[in-house]
């Protein structure tokens, strides 16, 4: 038997909890930002991660990069375990995974030239030969569609889209296998957004780059992702191929999410309004976390355990009691 290719990234049972205090000298509360998440991502694949504001998307990204500690769970990146006792150094991690942030201005040091910004990680990782560094900087600039001459300029001399290209060049300069993009285009306008999306997809094809794409813009997510994971309050509630998620959304939250997408050419499209209060990760509701807002909630949704995943297809599953009742014998 041929062993199935090991995924580039595998995350099992990831939890990220933060301790916060009520008032000064007050009681401590745990914010269960990420509460048991499994993810896999293969080389050359784009996984879209969507979900409500505050559901824990950025916390996952930060845990993957070692920027916040994982409370529990195992993260394996490129065959190495990067959580817990086996924690690797930030240096080694940087070679495998890099991040592109939402705001391209605040993530570039205004006092450094583009050359300094791009070659710093190379120097840090032991590329001592200046000519070699220069060559890599020029190569990366070319890759993101900018001329090598820009290396001597400063960040403020570039437009928002150009700066985001520079951030992408910096993220790619150590040739990582995974790039995490947390809202990479939401600060950009429509036409620059198109450039960056085209660029990321080109690089994914050319370099076999894996992308973890976090975005609230479902138009972008649909366009770019191979697979999509939908999160709600610290957990994944549905995941599947992009086609399944957009044509056969099965979890009531995913359906609400998709019906809420605004489209300029369909002005009358009124999103389904979810009632109910947005729950807090400090006090997640009992049962299915979505139950206070779910238009189809059943009595059994309001207590007990979080619903398990129901398999809906080869690569499609969702956590909802409604799905179980129909397919419980499958």
């Amino acid at each position: 038997m041929i062993p199935a290719a090991t995924p580039l990234l595998s995350v099992q049972g990831l939890k990220v909890h933060y301790a916060v205090r009520q008032g000064w000298r007050g009681k401590h509360f745990a914010v269960r930002a990420v509460d048991g998440v499994d993810l896999t991502l293969r080389a050359g694949e784009c996984l879209g991660l969507v979900g409500e504001s505050g559901c824990g998307k950025s916390s996952i990204a930060q845990a993957l990069l070692g920027l916040v500690p994982a409370t529990a769970g195992v993260i394996r990146l490129d065959g190495h375990e990067i959580t817990g006792a086996a924690q690797v150094s930030a240096m080694a991690l940087a070679r495998s995974a890099q991040m592109v942030f939402q705001d391209p201005m605040s993530s570039l040091n205004p006092r450094q030239t583009i050359r300094e910004i791009l070659s710093a990680p190379l120097r840090l990782h032991g590329m001592t030969d200046r000519a070699e560094r220069e060559a890599r900087v020029a190569e990366m600039l070319g890759l993101v569609g900018m001329s090598p001459e820009v290396a001597s300029r400063y960040p403020h001399e570039f437009s928002g889209g150009q700066r985001q290209r520079l951030c992408i060049a910096r993220a790619l300069i150590l040739r990582p296998k995974l790039v995490i993009c947390d809202e990479p285009v939401s600060a950009l306008d429509v036409s620059i957004r198109a450039q960056i999306i085209n660029l990321l997809l080109d690089l994914k094809d050319k370099l076999g780059l894996a992308l973890l794409l976090i975005s609230h813009d479902l138009g972008v997510v649909e366009h770019m992702s191979d697979r999509i994971a939908v999160m709600y309050l610290g957990r994944i509630v549905e995941e599947g191929g992009w086609r399944e998620i957009f044509t056969a959304p099965s979890h009531p939250y995913t359906r609400a999410l998709i019906s809420a997408i605004p489209d300029p050419l369909h002005r009358d499209r009124v999103p389904a309004r979810l009632g109910g209060e947005i729950p807090s990760p400090m006090a997640p509701p009992e049962g299915c976390a979505f139950n206070p807002r779910c238009p189809q909630a059943l009595p059994q949704c309001q207590s007990g355990q979080v619903p398990d995943f129901t398999r809906l297809g080869a690569d499609h599953q969702a956590r909802c009691h409604l799905l179980k009742t129909g397919t419980s014998h499958a």
Binding site: E52, A187, A194, R243, D263, P264, L265, S280, A283
Partner: protein, 325 residues
């Protein structure tokens, strides 16, 4: 008397560089009526935020209003000194910013920041203001508000911070609310709810809203009228129904073509998005004639010769183009 809450006439904003004044925004005209939602869209750097800041009296040197009038309920704000503007801000005019992290004070709890509005503009005691702050957070659907008022901005998610901003902005029922990219940080269901919520609160009070956004879908849905800006000028101003379905200006058409449209991948596969070639000119390099000419596929010599004026469209609205569709 007009029912326009806001009447902006021939607004100009310039950058002063020593003795030289470089115009950044020119000839901007629009009105917003009571209870109306007016959308302002356009490429990054075209001057949307400058307009917003001018309306709120928040322009900072080297930028300043260099011409025109900003009539809020009939009173011209353009010549008011900063001290006067500070008194109006949060009371008559409020603003929700693009980046909540930079607009919120990192060293103050959100409760104190909301409460401050009531202390400043309504003369409440800190104790009464605190109760109002909890109410205001409840209004924007922040869960456990009595706990959240003790939180500092960095302890909240992006979306939560934006709600706090909204609570601050609406605390004193302003006549004009300026929302600069109010919901980029929010997921679409919350976006819909928040925008709906803001608009409901505004509609009930007759608040005029100016909404700046790169999210054309959102703008189409919630705005009555929309203006498209390019390089410091309004280039098209129409009703929200027409501007997206029958755009007249080549730039507006380009914007709509560049959108990753939902459902298109299912129909046609993952094709490349249509970019608008070229870049927006910097304010020092605005072309002589039509400012879009270097990037426009319909440009002629006539377009490049002299500045292009706004003209009326037969079907209503205005456009700044010699060869519009």
């Amino acid at each position: 008397m007009t029912k326009a809450v806001l009447d902006v006439r021939n607004l100009a904003i310039s950058l002063s560089d020593g003795a030289v004044r470089v115009p950044a925004v020119e000839g901007v005209d629009f009105t917003i009526n009571r209870g109306e939602v007016f959308g302002l869209v356009g490429e990054s750097g075209c001057g949307k935020s400058l307009c917003a800041l001018a309306l709120a009296g928040l322009l900072k040197a080297p930028m300043a209003v260099s011409g025109g009038q900003i009539l809020l309920e009939g009173r011209d704000l353009a010549p008011l000194p900063p001290r006067e503007m500070r008194r109006l801000r949060g009371d008559k005019v409020s603003m929700i910013f693009q980046e909540p992290m930079t607009a919120l004070n990192p060293l103050m709890t959100v409760g104190d920041q909301i409460g401050e509005m009531f202390v400043l503009h309504r003369g409440l005691t800190p104790r009464a203001a605190r109760l109002k702050a909890i109410e205001a957070l409840e209004q924007v659907q922040v869960s456990s508000p009595e706990r959240r008022i003790n939180a500092y901005p960095h302890q909240l998610s992006g979306g939560m911070r934006q709600r706090v901003m909204i609570a601050i902005a609406l605390a004193c029922d302003p006549a004009l609310l300026i929302a600069d990219e109010p919901t980029t940080a929010l997921d679409v269901t919350i976006q819909a709810e928040i925008v709906e919520l803001v608009l409901e609160l505004c509609r009930a009070k007759g608040t005029a809203v100016m909404m700046i956004s790169h999210d054309l879908g959102l703008v189409a849905r919630v705005c009555n009228r929309v203006a498209v800006m390019y390089a410091g000028q309004i280039v098209e101003q129409r009703s929200a129904e027409e501007i997206f379905t029958a755009p007249a200006h080549p730039y507006t058409r380009g914007l709509i073509n560049a959108l990753p449209r939902l459902g298109r991948r299912l129909e046609r596969g993952q094709e490349r998005l249509t970019e608008i070639g070229g870049v927006v000119p910097a304010i020092r390099d605005f072309p002589q004639g039509c400012r879009f000419a270097p990037r426009c596929t319909r440009a002629t010599a006539e377009c490049r010769a002299a500045p292009v004026a706004m003209t009326d469209l037969n079907e209503g609205g205005r456009v700044r183009c010699l060869h519009h569709v």
